[in-house]
Symmetry: C2
Subunit: 327 residues, 2 copies
């Protein structure tokens, strides 16, 4: 292994100069620096992460917590996070919380002195605990706002409002909202936004459902029993299950039932091309969360801030007028 001192010897300077040439270029004269850089390059020098961590107190590791990996919504989120981490010169430790506040707490404790910060999608943990964690460690929350903790929130409520207006405009008077998961910070906000945007329209909140195909199959019965003419599902796998169940019963969208999803299927490679959906910038959310985190962990701690990412409604053929109004 090639050490700082090996480079120093090769360049005819001291180890501290090499360290500075690499980390604080402006402190070193142009001539020396290029000589050092050349030597480092030639010898293939690479920082020893542990030594650097010991000296600086920063590990170069960022944690990213998600409730589950089975949900396709999380894949682009993590991909974005990973990309941002790489660009910040850090590694990403992905941890699965199972949505359990206890496990979340255990993970925070275990990782606290191993990572420089924590970004997490933790709909269920009590806000007080999060604030407490944030006091000891840079923390960024996803899809959730907590006082004093920077956050990245995808504006699905805004999208829900668009869907509500869209469906109400088509003439629907009874719409089902397939919500979940229980205890989610965002879920009641989505529902409220949907209701508010469709004033003349009764919105039946069903669920909560797990974001699973299977759950969607079962949900269709409830939707029909409730006499709704349109259904909005909070997750793409749920939508997929509803669509399968509809097809199995010989129902089609939108002739028999309008269908919309709060999460665009095509993004997950689960494309059924014709479902009206929200295009959610989940990759961007993951990326921004980690960028924000890297800022917080950096010596120059940019202050906390909340970011709301807009979503776009994509109207496709699965939504149309209710059956009794069809042309």
């Amino acid at each position: 292994m090639v050490r700082l001192e090996d480079v120093a010897r090769a360049a005819g300077v001291s180890a501290s100069t090499v360290s500075r040439a690499l980390a604080r270029p402006d402190m070193i004269s142009e001539a020396t620096r290029s000589r050092v850089l050349e030597a480092a390059e030639r010898l293939g020098y690479r920082h020893h992460p542990a030594a650097r961590a010991l000296a600086t107190g920063r590990t170069g590791l960022l944690a990213f917590g998600v409730p589950s990996l089975a949900n396709p919504y999380h894949a682009p989120l993590i991909a974005g996070a990973q990309q941002a981490a790489e660009e910040a010169g850090c590694e990403l430790v992905v941890v699965v919380t199972d949505g359990s506040p206890d496990r979340e707490a255990a993970l925070f404790a275990r990782l606290a002195d191993r990572v420089d910060g924590f970004a997490a999608l933790i709909p269920g943990s009590p806000a007080a605990r999060l604030a407490e964690v944030a006091a000891g460690l840079p923390l960024v929350t996803l899809d959730r706002r907590v006082r004093g903790v920077p956050s990245i929130v995808i504006d699905t409520p805004g999208g829900m409002a668009a869907l509500g207006a869209h469906l109400a405009g088509l003439g629907h008077r009874r719409v089902a909202y397939l919500g979940g998961p229980a205890g989610s910070w965002l879920d009641p906000r989505r529902l409220a936004a949907l209701r508010e945007a469709a004033p003349g329209c009764e919105v039946r909140a069903l669920g909560p459902y797990l974001p699973e195909y299977q759950a969607g199959i079962g949900a269709l019965d409830e939707v029909l029993a409730a006499g709704c003419t349109a259904v909005v599902a909070y997750s793409s796998t749920l939508t997929l299950g509803v669509l399968y169940a509809m097809t199995a019963r010989g129902l089609s969208a939108p002739a028999d039932l309008s269908l919309a999803s709060a999460d665009d299927l095509s993004a997950a490679g689960l494309a059924v091309p014709d479902v009206t959906a929200l295009r959610v910038p989940s990759r961007a959310a993951g990326r921004l969360a980690v960028e924000r985190l890297a800022d917080l962990a950096a010596p120059r701690p940019a202050g906390p801030a909340h970011t709301l990412l807009p979503v776009e409604m994509i109207v496709r053929s699965s939504s149309g007028p209710p059956p009794d109004r069809a042309p």
Copy 2:
């Protein structure tokens, strides 16, 4: 922060004694040890990971590489890996390779001196490169065997043989295999096993397909065009797509077409209860891979070994006699 020396002072011993009481209990007298442990407990002492890493050369970090997070098959794999890592007292760095050999190589290089070992599902990287990596860093491969590199392989070829025998026994004479991904080590072995177990049966290899819902929808056309009476898909999302496409056309299984999946849907919460499938122990595979890795990374390096995990065929109602033989 409470340091080793703080504990030492509290217990009235030296820092080295504390270190040993924690790491080599047998070197320390019973009395001293319990006194030290009590003090450590009381003060809430925790190792400083970076300091330990610098002194020992071991980081307590293990890397786990997967081609993608969008594939539901990977979720239990990673969950198992994470559990094993926790039990070994390590953190797991999950990295996504995108299935690109170049990116894999870059990740190996970048993580080489950050982690104690690498477990990876890398169907595409050249074997020579993997052997090279394994020379410099503990490495365990998943679903792939490379000379001299320990591996955990799920015996889907064995499961394919069971499916082949099952379908041939039902009277099928032309079976479609929906394979993928291109360049996978395991894929040709699955196909060969399927062929071998169904001697009187023509096995049409279609694809390669991506493990996606959408791909399954398209695949059905090819299956029907090829005149097959049964179809075996290598991935559960693919199966789901086929099933949807069948339903949309009014075809049902097994009356019109028998359907089997090399990967059990119910495991991923994508349960469509009646699909004949292989139950693959993916959680166990992830767990074993990381356990093996932790062994390799430990001072007592257990030798390389290959593990083949058996799979179980679950016959359900989606497979039956071909249409012309139906009762």
